[in-house]
Protein backbone atom coordinates (compact mmCIF):
# COMPACT_ATOMS: atom_id res chain seq x y z
CA UNK A 1 0.00 0.00 0.00
CA UNK A 2 1.40 3.37 -0.94
CA UNK A 3 1.68 6.10 1.60
CA UNK A 4 -0.77 8.33 -0.24
CA UNK A 5 -3.47 5.67 -0.13
CA UNK A 6 -2.96 4.93 3.53
CA UNK A 7 -3.24 8.62 4.19
CA UNK A 8 -6.65 8.64 2.55
CA UNK A 9 -7.84 5.49 4.24
CA UNK A 10 -7.40 6.56 7.84
CA UNK A 11 -9.84 9.51 7.71
CA UNK A 12 -12.38 7.23 6.03
CA UNK A 13 -12.08 4.67 8.81
CA UNK A 14 -12.36 7.41 11.41
CA UNK A 15 -15.46 8.77 9.70
CA UNK A 16 -17.11 5.35 9.74
CA UNK A 17 -16.15 4.88 13.38
CA UNK A 18 -17.66 8.26 14.22
CA UNK A 19 -20.86 7.36 12.44
CA UNK A 20 -20.99 4.03 14.26
CA UNK A 21 -20.54 5.81 17.59
CA UNK A 22 -23.33 8.19 16.62
CA UNK A 23 -25.57 5.30 15.70
CA UNK A 24 -25.05 3.65 19.08
CA UNK A 25 -25.51 6.96 20.91
CA UNK A 26 -28.77 7.80 19.12
CA UNK A 27 -30.15 4.31 18.57
CA UNK A 28 -29.22 2.20 21.57
CA UNK A 29 -31.55 3.85 24.13
CA UNK A 30 -34.44 3.58 21.68
CA UNK A 31 -33.70 -0.07 20.85
CA UNK A 32 -33.39 -0.83 24.54
CA UNK A 33 -36.84 0.65 25.12
CA UNK A 34 -38.39 -1.27 22.22
CA UNK A 35 -36.92 -4.60 23.33
CA UNK A 36 -37.74 -3.98 26.98
CA UNK A 37 -41.40 -3.69 25.96
CA UNK A 38 -41.37 -7.31 24.72
CA UNK A 39 -39.57 -8.75 27.75
CA UNK A 40 -40.97 -9.86 31.07
CA UNK A 41 -40.25 -7.55 33.99
CA UNK A 42 -37.82 -10.03 35.49
CA UNK A 43 -35.85 -10.23 32.27
CA UNK A 44 -35.44 -6.46 31.86
CA UNK A 45 -32.95 -6.34 34.74
CA UNK A 46 -31.43 -9.77 34.13
CA UNK A 47 -27.66 -10.10 34.52
CA UNK A 48 -25.69 -9.97 32.33
CA UNK A 49 -27.87 -7.48 30.42
CA UNK A 50 -29.09 -8.60 27.00
CA UNK A 51 -30.60 -6.37 24.35
CA UNK A 52 -32.71 -9.05 22.67
CA UNK A 53 -35.41 -10.80 24.68
CA UNK A 54 -34.85 -14.42 25.64
CA UNK A 55 -38.56 -15.07 25.95
CA UNK A 56 -40.41 -12.78 23.58
CA UNK A 57 -43.76 -11.71 25.05
CA UNK A 58 -46.46 -9.24 24.08
CA UNK A 59 -47.89 -9.38 27.60
CA UNK A 60 -47.23 -5.68 28.22
CA UNK A 61 -49.10 -4.67 25.06
CA UNK A 62 -51.92 -7.05 25.91
CA UNK A 63 -52.43 -5.52 29.31
CA UNK A 64 -52.51 -2.00 27.81
CA UNK A 65 -55.08 -2.88 25.14
CA UNK A 66 -57.25 -4.76 27.62
CA UNK A 67 -57.35 -1.82 30.03
CA UNK A 68 -60.00 0.73 28.94
CA UNK A 69 -58.32 3.46 31.03
CA UNK A 70 -55.08 3.12 29.10
CA UNK A 71 -56.82 2.89 25.75
CA UNK A 72 -58.60 6.11 26.72
CA UNK A 73 -55.25 7.91 27.10
CA UNK A 74 -54.56 7.17 23.46
CA UNK A 75 -58.03 8.16 22.27
CA UNK A 76 -57.70 11.44 24.19
CA UNK A 77 -54.31 12.16 22.68
CA UNK A 78 -55.51 11.39 19.16
CA UNK A 79 -58.62 13.51 19.55
CA UNK A 80 -56.90 16.52 21.11
CA UNK A 81 -53.97 16.44 18.68
CA UNK A 82 -56.30 16.06 15.69
CA UNK A 83 -58.55 18.96 16.75
CA UNK A 84 -55.58 21.19 17.52
CA UNK A 85 -54.07 20.35 14.14
CA UNK A 86 -57.29 21.12 12.31
CA UNK A 87 -57.85 24.46 14.05
CA UNK A 88 -54.21 25.46 13.82
CA UNK A 89 -54.01 24.75 10.10
CA UNK A 90 -57.20 26.71 9.36
CA UNK A 91 -56.17 29.76 11.38
CA UNK A 92 -52.60 29.58 10.07
CA UNK A 93 -53.68 29.51 6.42
CA UNK A 94 -55.87 32.58 6.80
CA UNK A 95 -53.33 34.51 8.88
CA UNK A 96 -50.42 33.59 6.67
CA UNK A 97 -52.38 34.72 3.62
CA UNK A 98 -52.93 38.12 5.20
CA UNK A 99 -49.26 38.41 6.15
CA UNK A 100 -47.96 37.11 2.85
CA UNK A 101 -50.18 39.09 0.43
CA UNK A 102 -50.77 42.46 2.08
CA UNK A 103 -48.88 45.28 3.63
CA UNK A 104 -50.68 47.09 6.41
CA UNK A 105 -49.97 49.15 9.49
CA UNK A 106 -48.45 47.18 12.38
CA UNK A 107 -47.81 44.20 10.12
CA UNK A 108 -44.18 44.12 11.12
CA UNK A 109 -45.06 44.48 14.79
CA UNK A 110 -47.53 41.63 14.46
CA UNK A 111 -44.90 39.37 12.86
CA UNK A 112 -42.34 40.14 15.54
CA UNK A 113 -45.00 39.52 18.18
CA UNK A 114 -45.87 36.14 16.67
CA UNK A 115 -42.20 35.15 16.54
CA UNK A 116 -41.53 36.23 20.10
CA UNK A 117 -44.53 34.31 21.50
CA UNK A 118 -42.55 31.15 20.71
CA UNK A 119 -40.14 32.03 23.46
CA UNK A 120 -42.63 32.77 26.25
CA UNK A 121 -42.06 30.15 28.99
CA UNK A 122 -45.04 27.77 29.34
CA UNK A 123 -44.61 27.90 33.12
CA UNK A 124 -45.45 31.62 33.01
CA UNK A 125 -48.65 30.95 31.06
CA UNK A 126 -49.88 27.93 32.98
CA UNK A 127 -50.67 29.85 36.17
CA UNK A 128 -53.04 32.38 34.52
CA UNK A 129 -54.38 29.60 32.25
CA UNK A 130 -55.32 27.61 35.32
CA UNK A 131 -57.22 30.62 36.70
CA UNK A 132 -58.86 31.31 33.32
CA UNK A 133 -59.83 27.70 32.66
CA UNK A 134 -61.35 27.30 36.10
CA UNK A 135 -63.34 30.51 35.82
CA UNK A 136 -64.51 29.60 32.29
CA UNK A 137 -65.67 26.27 33.77
CA UNK A 138 -63.72 24.24 31.22
CA UNK A 139 -61.25 22.75 33.71
CA UNK A 140 -60.73 19.02 33.02
CA UNK A 141 -62.27 19.18 29.52
CA UNK A 142 -60.97 18.77 25.98
CA UNK A 143 -61.75 22.47 25.39
CA UNK A 144 -59.14 23.52 27.93
CA UNK A 145 -56.42 21.55 26.15
CA UNK A 146 -57.44 22.35 22.58
CA UNK A 147 -57.73 26.08 23.26
CA UNK A 148 -54.47 26.46 25.18
CA UNK A 149 -52.44 24.29 22.80
CA UNK A 150 -53.11 26.84 20.05
CA UNK A 151 -50.79 29.25 21.83
CA UNK A 152 -47.71 27.20 21.01
CA UNK A 153 -48.83 25.57 17.75
CA UNK A 154 -49.95 28.75 15.98
CA UNK A 155 -46.67 30.69 15.91
CA UNK A 156 -44.85 27.82 14.18
CA UNK A 157 -47.73 27.09 11.88
CA UNK A 158 -48.05 30.72 10.81
CA UNK A 159 -44.31 31.07 10.18
CA UNK A 160 -44.26 27.87 8.15
CA UNK A 161 -47.29 28.90 6.10
CA UNK A 162 -46.05 32.43 5.44
CA UNK A 163 -42.79 30.95 4.19
CA UNK A 164 -44.68 28.61 1.91
CA UNK A 165 -47.22 31.13 0.61
CA UNK A 166 -44.40 33.54 -0.23
CA UNK A 167 -43.15 30.98 -2.74
CA UNK A 168 -46.48 30.97 -4.62
CA UNK A 169 -46.59 33.73 -7.24
CA UNK A 170 -48.96 36.63 -6.57
CA UNK A 171 -49.98 36.71 -10.22
CA UNK A 172 -52.27 33.78 -9.47
CA UNK A 173 -54.29 35.85 -6.96
CA UNK A 174 -54.44 38.72 -9.42
CA UNK A 175 -55.77 36.39 -12.13
CA UNK A 176 -58.68 35.40 -9.92
CA UNK A 177 -59.39 39.05 -9.08
CA UNK A 178 -59.38 39.99 -12.77
CA UNK A 179 -62.06 37.35 -13.26
CA UNK A 180 -64.14 39.13 -10.62
CA UNK A 181 -63.33 36.88 -7.64
CA UNK A 182 -62.38 38.21 -4.21
CA UNK A 183 -59.10 37.52 -2.45
CA UNK A 184 -61.02 35.07 -0.28
CA UNK A 185 -61.99 33.03 -3.36
CA UNK A 186 -58.43 33.24 -4.63
CA UNK A 187 -57.14 31.90 -1.34
CA UNK A 188 -59.36 28.84 -1.14
CA UNK A 189 -59.76 27.95 -4.81
CA UNK A 190 -56.27 28.70 -6.11
CA UNK A 191 -53.73 29.19 -3.36
CA UNK A 192 -54.73 26.46 -0.91
CA UNK A 193 -54.62 23.66 -3.52
CA UNK A 194 -51.13 24.82 -4.51
CA UNK A 195 -50.04 25.07 -0.90
CA UNK A 196 -50.84 21.45 -0.02
CA UNK A 197 -47.19 20.50 0.68
CA UNK A 198 -46.83 23.47 3.02
CA UNK A 199 -50.11 22.61 4.69
CA UNK A 200 -49.03 19.00 5.20
CA UNK A 201 -45.76 20.17 6.74
CA UNK A 202 -47.67 22.48 9.07
CA UNK A 203 -50.17 19.77 10.02
CA UNK A 204 -47.52 17.14 10.68
CA UNK A 205 -45.48 19.45 12.86
CA UNK A 206 -48.53 20.75 14.74
CA UNK A 207 -49.63 17.19 15.45
CA UNK A 208 -46.20 16.44 16.90
CA UNK A 209 -46.26 19.47 19.19
CA UNK A 210 -49.77 18.73 20.42
CA UNK A 211 -49.12 15.00 20.87
CA UNK A 212 -46.01 15.63 22.97
CA UNK A 213 -47.38 18.35 25.24
CA UNK A 214 -47.01 17.70 28.97
CA UNK A 215 -47.31 20.73 31.26
CA UNK A 216 -50.73 21.99 30.17
CA UNK A 217 -52.22 18.49 30.11
CA UNK A 218 -50.83 17.80 33.57
CA UNK A 219 -52.33 20.97 35.03
CA UNK A 220 -55.56 21.57 33.13
CA UNK A 221 -56.99 18.06 33.41
CA UNK A 222 -57.56 16.08 36.54
CA UNK A 223 -59.60 12.90 36.12
CA UNK A 224 -57.95 9.77 34.72
CA UNK A 225 -60.36 9.57 31.78
CA UNK A 226 -59.27 13.04 30.57
CA UNK A 227 -55.54 12.35 30.59
CA UNK A 228 -53.39 12.20 27.46
CA UNK A 229 -50.61 9.68 26.75
CA UNK A 230 -47.68 11.61 28.32
CA UNK A 231 -49.65 12.04 31.54
CA UNK A 232 -50.79 8.42 31.29
CA UNK A 233 -47.14 7.36 31.30
CA UNK A 234 -46.52 9.59 34.30
CA UNK A 235 -49.45 7.99 36.15
CA UNK A 236 -48.15 4.52 35.26
CA UNK A 237 -44.79 5.53 36.66
CA UNK A 238 -46.31 6.70 39.91
CA UNK A 239 -48.65 3.78 40.41
CA UNK A 240 -46.69 0.73 39.33
CA UNK A 241 -43.09 1.76 39.68
CA UNK A 242 -42.04 -1.74 38.74
CA UNK A 243 -44.14 -2.37 35.62
CA UNK A 244 -41.24 -1.37 33.38
CA UNK A 245 -42.32 -3.43 30.40
CA UNK A 246 -45.75 -1.80 30.42
CA UNK A 247 -44.25 1.69 30.62
CA UNK A 248 -41.97 0.85 27.73
CA UNK A 249 -44.87 -0.55 25.71
CA UNK A 250 -46.82 2.65 26.45
CA UNK A 251 -43.81 4.66 25.24
CA UNK A 252 -43.49 2.61 22.08
CA UNK A 253 -47.20 3.04 21.35
CA UNK A 254 -46.98 6.70 22.37
CA UNK A 255 -44.22 7.39 19.88
CA UNK A 256 -45.65 5.24 17.11
CA UNK A 257 -47.87 7.88 15.44
CA UNK A 258 -44.92 10.29 15.30
CA UNK A 259 -42.60 7.63 13.91
CA UNK A 260 -45.11 6.73 11.22
CA UNK A 261 -45.64 10.39 10.31
CA UNK A 262 -41.90 10.94 10.34
CA UNK A 263 -41.23 8.01 8.03
CA UNK A 264 -43.94 9.12 5.60
CA UNK A 265 -43.34 12.85 5.76
CA UNK A 266 -39.68 13.16 6.69
CA UNK A 267 -39.02 16.14 4.46
CA UNK A 268 -41.92 18.03 5.99
CA UNK A 269 -40.89 17.22 9.51
CA UNK A 270 -37.51 18.76 8.86
CA UNK A 271 -39.18 21.83 7.41
CA UNK A 272 -41.19 22.20 10.62
CA UNK A 273 -38.19 21.55 12.79
CA UNK A 274 -36.19 24.30 11.19
CA UNK A 275 -39.03 26.79 10.74
CA UNK A 276 -38.57 28.42 14.10
CA UNK A 277 -34.87 28.93 13.72
CA UNK A 278 -34.37 29.96 10.13
CA UNK A 279 -37.58 31.58 8.99
CA UNK A 280 -37.55 34.20 11.71
Amino acid sequence: MTRARRKKKLPTILTYLGLLAGLVFAGFPILWMVFASVKSNAEIFALPPRLLPEHFTLMAYGSIFSDPTKVRFFLNSYFVAAMVTLLTVLVAIVTAYGLSRYTFRFKNALSVFIISTQTVPPITLIIPYFGMVVSMKIFNTYYALILTYLVFTLPYAILLMVGYLNTIPRDLDEAVKVDGGSSWTALWLVIVPLAVPGIVATAVYTFLLAWNEFLFALTLTKSTEMRTVPIGIELLMGQHAFEWNEMMAMSVLGSLPLLVLYMIAQRWFLAGMMAGSVKA
Binding site: T15, T95, G98, V120, I123, Y129, G131, V151, M237, L259
Partner: protein, 312 residues
Protein backbone atom coordinates in the same frame (compact mmCIF):
# COMPACT_ATOMS: atom_id res chain seq x y z
CA UNK B 1 -57.48 50.39 13.05
CA UNK B 2 -59.48 48.39 15.55
CA UNK B 3 -60.37 44.73 15.34
CA UNK B 4 -64.15 45.20 15.70
CA UNK B 5 -64.81 43.55 12.37
CA UNK B 6 -66.38 40.15 12.78
CA UNK B 7 -64.30 37.44 11.07
CA UNK B 8 -67.53 35.61 10.16
CA UNK B 9 -68.09 38.38 7.62
CA UNK B 10 -65.08 37.17 5.70
CA UNK B 11 -66.89 34.86 3.25
CA UNK B 12 -69.16 37.71 2.22
CA UNK B 13 -66.28 40.06 1.58
CA UNK B 14 -67.41 40.53 -2.00
CA UNK B 15 -70.77 41.96 -0.87
CA UNK B 16 -68.90 44.91 0.55
CA UNK B 17 -68.50 46.50 -2.82
CA UNK B 18 -72.04 47.81 -2.43
CA UNK B 19 -71.69 48.82 1.24
CA UNK B 20 -71.13 52.27 2.72
CA UNK B 21 -67.43 51.71 3.08
CA UNK B 22 -65.36 53.55 0.53
CA UNK B 23 -63.27 51.40 -1.76
CA UNK B 24 -60.04 52.54 -0.19
CA UNK B 25 -61.23 51.95 3.34
CA UNK B 26 -62.44 48.51 2.41
CA UNK B 27 -59.04 47.65 0.99
CA UNK B 28 -57.43 48.68 4.24
CA UNK B 29 -59.74 46.38 6.20
CA UNK B 30 -59.16 43.23 4.20
CA UNK B 31 -55.70 42.35 5.58
CA UNK B 32 -56.95 42.88 9.12
CA UNK B 33 -59.81 40.48 8.51
CA UNK B 34 -57.30 37.81 7.57
CA UNK B 35 -55.13 38.30 10.61
CA UNK B 36 -58.04 38.94 12.98
CA UNK B 37 -58.60 35.33 14.19
CA UNK B 38 -54.95 34.88 15.10
CA UNK B 39 -54.77 38.35 16.66
CA UNK B 40 -57.81 37.59 18.81
CA UNK B 41 -56.39 34.22 19.85
CA UNK B 42 -53.03 35.72 20.75
CA UNK B 43 -54.72 38.48 22.69
CA UNK B 44 -56.73 35.94 24.69
CA UNK B 45 -54.00 33.34 25.08
CA UNK B 46 -50.90 35.51 25.34
CA UNK B 47 -51.48 39.18 26.21
CA UNK B 48 -54.34 38.64 28.63
CA UNK B 49 -52.56 35.83 30.56
CA UNK B 50 -49.42 37.94 30.82
CA UNK B 51 -51.39 40.81 32.32
CA UNK B 52 -53.12 38.31 34.59
CA UNK B 53 -49.92 36.71 35.88
CA UNK B 54 -48.50 40.17 36.53
CA UNK B 55 -51.67 41.07 38.45
CA UNK B 56 -51.55 37.81 40.44
CA UNK B 57 -47.92 38.47 41.33
CA UNK B 58 -48.87 41.80 42.92
CA UNK B 59 -51.71 40.30 44.93
CA UNK B 60 -51.98 38.34 48.11
CA UNK B 61 -53.28 34.78 47.71
CA UNK B 62 -54.39 34.96 44.06
CA UNK B 63 -56.79 32.22 42.86
CA UNK B 64 -56.69 30.49 46.26
CA UNK B 65 -58.24 33.36 48.26
CA UNK B 66 -61.58 34.93 47.36
CA UNK B 67 -60.78 38.41 48.74
CA UNK B 68 -57.18 38.75 47.64
CA UNK B 69 -55.79 42.27 47.78
CA UNK B 70 -52.97 44.30 46.25
CA UNK B 71 -49.70 43.91 48.13
CA UNK B 72 -47.20 45.56 45.79
CA UNK B 73 -43.86 43.84 45.27
CA UNK B 74 -44.01 41.83 48.50
CA UNK B 75 -44.22 38.49 46.61
CA UNK B 76 -41.15 39.36 44.58
CA UNK B 77 -39.20 40.19 47.72
CA UNK B 78 -40.24 36.88 49.23
CA UNK B 79 -39.21 34.91 46.15
CA UNK B 80 -35.77 36.54 45.83
CA UNK B 81 -35.21 36.03 49.55
CA UNK B 82 -35.66 32.27 49.09
CA UNK B 83 -32.27 30.54 48.72
CA UNK B 84 -33.97 27.66 46.85
CA UNK B 85 -34.99 30.13 44.13
CA UNK B 86 -31.34 31.09 43.59
CA UNK B 87 -30.24 27.47 43.78
CA UNK B 88 -32.84 26.64 41.12
CA UNK B 89 -31.69 29.60 39.01
CA UNK B 90 -28.05 28.50 39.20
CA UNK B 91 -28.95 24.88 38.37
CA UNK B 92 -31.16 25.97 35.48
CA UNK B 93 -28.29 28.03 34.12
CA UNK B 94 -25.84 25.15 34.52
CA UNK B 95 -28.27 22.71 32.89
CA UNK B 96 -28.89 25.12 30.03
CA UNK B 97 -25.32 26.15 29.32
CA UNK B 98 -23.98 22.59 29.44
CA UNK B 99 -26.86 21.35 27.28
CA UNK B 100 -26.36 24.07 24.67
CA UNK B 101 -22.61 23.47 24.46
CA UNK B 102 -22.97 19.71 24.04
CA UNK B 103 -25.92 20.04 21.67
CA UNK B 104 -23.73 22.23 19.50
CA UNK B 105 -20.64 20.01 19.68
CA UNK B 106 -22.54 16.77 19.02
CA UNK B 107 -24.80 18.36 16.42
CA UNK B 108 -21.82 19.83 14.56
CA UNK B 109 -19.82 16.58 14.77
CA UNK B 110 -22.73 14.52 13.44
CA UNK B 111 -23.44 17.07 10.72
CA UNK B 112 -19.80 16.94 9.61
CA UNK B 113 -19.81 13.13 9.58
CA UNK B 114 -23.06 13.04 7.63
CA UNK B 115 -21.68 15.57 5.16
CA UNK B 116 -18.47 13.63 4.54
CA UNK B 117 -18.05 12.52 0.95
CA UNK B 118 -15.93 9.58 2.15
CA UNK B 119 -19.13 7.76 3.00
CA UNK B 120 -21.67 6.36 0.57
CA UNK B 121 -24.59 8.80 0.17
CA UNK B 122 -27.16 6.01 0.72
CA UNK B 123 -25.63 5.16 4.10
CA UNK B 124 -25.56 8.82 5.01
CA UNK B 125 -29.22 9.14 4.08
CA UNK B 126 -30.26 6.26 6.32
CA UNK B 127 -28.09 7.45 9.21
CA UNK B 128 -29.46 10.96 8.96
CA UNK B 129 -32.95 9.58 9.49
CA UNK B 130 -31.80 7.51 12.47
CA UNK B 131 -29.75 10.30 14.08
CA UNK B 132 -32.82 12.53 14.22
CA UNK B 133 -34.87 9.96 16.14
CA UNK B 134 -34.18 11.20 19.70
CA UNK B 135 -35.76 14.50 18.76
CA UNK B 136 -39.09 12.82 17.94
CA UNK B 137 -39.53 11.48 21.45
CA UNK B 138 -41.48 13.48 23.95
CA UNK B 139 -39.70 14.47 27.15
CA UNK B 140 -41.75 12.00 29.19
CA UNK B 141 -40.58 9.08 27.10
CA UNK B 142 -36.98 10.34 27.13
CA UNK B 143 -37.26 10.55 30.89
CA UNK B 144 -38.41 6.96 31.35
CA UNK B 145 -35.94 5.57 28.79
CA UNK B 146 -33.11 7.10 30.82
CA UNK B 147 -34.66 6.06 34.11
CA UNK B 148 -34.59 2.49 32.83
CA UNK B 149 -31.05 2.72 31.47
CA UNK B 150 -29.69 4.55 34.51
CA UNK B 151 -31.58 2.47 37.05
CA UNK B 152 -29.22 1.22 39.82
CA UNK B 153 -29.77 -2.28 38.42
CA UNK B 154 -29.84 -1.04 34.84
CA UNK B 155 -27.67 -1.68 31.87
CA UNK B 156 -25.43 1.41 32.22
CA UNK B 157 -24.35 0.45 35.73
CA UNK B 158 -23.74 -3.15 34.80
CA UNK B 159 -21.62 -2.21 31.78
CA UNK B 160 -19.63 0.33 33.81
CA UNK B 161 -19.09 -2.22 36.56
CA UNK B 162 -17.94 -4.87 34.12
CA UNK B 163 -15.44 -2.35 32.74
CA UNK B 164 -14.43 -1.51 36.34
CA UNK B 165 -15.16 2.18 35.81
CA UNK B 166 -17.39 2.15 38.88
CA UNK B 167 -17.30 -0.40 41.68
CA UNK B 168 -20.81 -0.01 43.12
CA UNK B 169 -24.32 0.55 41.76
CA UNK B 170 -24.64 4.31 41.28
CA UNK B 171 -28.11 5.75 41.84
CA UNK B 172 -27.73 8.28 39.04
CA UNK B 173 -31.04 10.09 39.45
CA UNK B 174 -31.38 9.84 43.22
CA UNK B 175 -28.00 10.77 44.61
CA UNK B 176 -27.41 14.51 45.02
CA UNK B 177 -23.94 14.28 43.47
CA UNK B 178 -25.01 12.78 40.15
CA UNK B 179 -28.69 13.73 39.66
CA UNK B 180 -28.06 17.06 37.94
CA UNK B 181 -25.45 15.52 35.64
CA UNK B 182 -27.78 12.64 34.78
CA UNK B 183 -30.70 14.93 33.94
CA UNK B 184 -28.42 17.17 31.88
CA UNK B 185 -27.09 14.14 30.04
CA UNK B 186 -30.59 12.94 29.15
CA UNK B 187 -31.35 16.40 27.81
CA UNK B 188 -28.17 16.45 25.75
CA UNK B 189 -29.17 13.13 24.21
CA UNK B 190 -32.59 14.47 23.30
CA UNK B 191 -31.64 17.88 21.97
CA UNK B 192 -28.77 17.69 19.48
CA UNK B 193 -30.79 16.79 16.31
CA UNK B 194 -32.07 20.33 15.74
CA UNK B 195 -28.46 21.52 15.48
CA UNK B 196 -27.48 18.54 13.38
CA UNK B 197 -30.23 19.11 10.82
CA UNK B 198 -29.74 22.87 10.59
CA UNK B 199 -25.95 22.66 10.46
CA UNK B 200 -26.07 19.89 7.87
CA UNK B 201 -28.23 22.10 5.66
CA UNK B 202 -25.81 24.98 6.22
CA UNK B 203 -22.77 22.80 5.50
CA UNK B 204 -24.28 21.70 2.21
CA UNK B 205 -24.68 25.37 1.34
CA UNK B 206 -20.97 26.17 1.67
CA UNK B 207 -19.33 26.45 -1.73
CA UNK B 208 -16.84 23.65 -2.45
CA UNK B 209 -14.63 26.18 -4.21
CA UNK B 210 -13.74 27.77 -0.89
CA UNK B 211 -12.23 24.49 0.30
CA UNK B 212 -10.48 23.87 -3.01
CA UNK B 213 -8.92 27.32 -2.91
CA UNK B 214 -7.76 26.73 0.67
CA UNK B 215 -6.26 23.39 -0.29
CA UNK B 216 -4.33 25.04 -3.12
CA UNK B 217 -3.01 27.54 -0.60
CA UNK B 218 -1.75 24.61 1.47
CA UNK B 219 -4.34 24.66 4.26
CA UNK B 220 -4.85 21.39 6.13
CA UNK B 221 -8.28 20.12 7.12
CA UNK B 222 -8.16 21.68 10.59
CA UNK B 223 -7.28 25.07 9.11
CA UNK B 224 -10.13 24.82 6.57
CA UNK B 225 -12.51 23.90 9.39
CA UNK B 226 -11.48 26.86 11.54
CA UNK B 227 -11.20 29.44 8.76
CA UNK B 228 -13.96 28.35 6.37
CA UNK B 229 -16.49 26.02 8.00
CA UNK B 230 -16.90 27.77 11.34
CA UNK B 231 -17.26 31.34 9.99
CA UNK B 232 -19.71 30.13 7.33
CA UNK B 233 -21.82 28.32 9.94
CA UNK B 234 -21.68 31.12 12.50
CA UNK B 235 -25.04 32.77 11.69
CA UNK B 236 -26.87 29.43 11.97
CA UNK B 237 -24.97 28.46 15.11
CA UNK B 238 -25.73 31.73 16.88
CA UNK B 239 -29.42 31.75 16.07
CA UNK B 240 -30.00 28.11 16.99
CA UNK B 241 -27.92 28.35 20.13
CA UNK B 242 -29.92 31.39 21.26
CA UNK B 243 -33.24 29.65 20.61
CA UNK B 244 -32.02 26.48 22.30
CA UNK B 245 -30.83 28.55 25.25
CA UNK B 246 -34.28 30.12 25.60
CA UNK B 247 -36.10 26.80 25.26
CA UNK B 248 -33.77 24.88 27.56
CA UNK B 249 -34.22 27.50 30.30
CA UNK B 250 -37.87 26.47 30.27
CA UNK B 251 -37.21 22.75 30.82
CA UNK B 252 -40.00 21.11 32.77
CA UNK B 253 -41.24 17.62 31.82
CA UNK B 254 -37.82 15.98 31.63
CA UNK B 255 -36.87 17.08 35.12
CA UNK B 256 -40.36 16.49 36.49
CA UNK B 257 -40.34 12.90 35.23
CA UNK B 258 -36.80 11.93 36.17
CA UNK B 259 -36.16 13.54 39.53
CA UNK B 260 -39.06 15.88 40.22
CA UNK B 261 -36.44 18.46 41.22
CA UNK B 262 -34.94 16.24 43.91
CA UNK B 263 -33.18 14.75 45.71
CA UNK B 264 -33.58 17.67 48.14
CA UNK B 265 -33.65 20.33 45.39
CA UNK B 266 -30.46 18.99 43.78
CA UNK B 267 -32.09 19.23 40.33
CA UNK B 268 -34.61 21.96 41.11
CA UNK B 269 -35.11 24.14 38.04
CA UNK B 270 -36.86 27.50 37.94
CA UNK B 271 -39.80 25.79 36.25
CA UNK B 272 -40.19 22.99 38.79
CA UNK B 273 -39.69 25.44 41.64
CA UNK B 274 -42.47 27.64 40.27
CA UNK B 275 -44.74 24.72 39.47
CA UNK B 276 -44.49 23.36 42.98
CA UNK B 277 -45.19 26.79 44.49
CA UNK B 278 -48.36 27.01 42.40
CA UNK B 279 -49.74 23.50 42.21
CA UNK B 280 -48.33 21.73 45.25
CA UNK B 281 -48.37 24.57 47.79
CA UNK B 282 -51.17 26.60 46.12
CA UNK B 283 -49.16 29.79 46.65
CA UNK B 284 -50.26 31.20 43.30
CA UNK B 285 -49.12 34.73 44.04
CA UNK B 286 -45.58 33.70 44.93
CA UNK B 287 -45.52 31.37 41.93
CA UNK B 288 -46.70 34.22 39.71
CA UNK B 289 -43.90 36.46 40.94
CA UNK B 290 -41.41 33.70 40.17
CA UNK B 291 -43.07 33.13 36.76
CA UNK B 292 -42.79 36.84 35.92
CA UNK B 293 -39.08 36.78 36.79
CA UNK B 294 -38.63 33.77 34.48
CA UNK B 295 -40.53 35.60 31.77
CA UNK B 296 -38.27 38.64 32.16
CA UNK B 297 -35.16 36.46 31.77
CA UNK B 298 -36.61 34.71 28.73
CA UNK B 299 -37.67 37.98 27.14
CA UNK B 300 -34.25 39.56 27.56
CA UNK B 301 -32.65 36.66 25.67
CA UNK B 302 -35.45 36.83 23.12
CA UNK B 303 -34.66 40.51 22.51
CA UNK B 304 -31.06 39.57 21.78
CA UNK B 305 -32.34 36.89 19.41
CA UNK B 306 -34.67 39.26 17.54
CA UNK B 307 -31.95 41.92 17.31
CA UNK B 308 -29.59 39.32 15.94
CA UNK B 309 -32.12 38.08 13.39
CA UNK B 310 -32.82 41.64 12.25
CA UNK B 311 -29.12 42.37 11.89
CA UNK B 312 -28.67 39.36 9.62
Amino acid sequence: MTKVLDPSLLPQASLWSRSWLSHRRKRQCVPWLYVAPATLLFTALMLFPMVTVLRYSLMDGAIAKKDSSFVGIRNYLEVVADPIFWQAAAQTLYFTVVSVIFHLVIGLAFAQLLNSDRVDPAIRGVLRVLFILPWLYTAVIIAIIWRLLLDPNGVVNSVLMTLHIIDFKVEWFSSPGTALQAVTFANIWAGYPLYMVSLLAALQGISKELYEAAELDGANSIQSFVHITVPQLMPVIVSIALLDFIWTLQVFPLVWMTTGGGPIHATEMLSTYTYKLAFSSYKFSLASASAVLILAMSMSVTLVYIKYQKAR
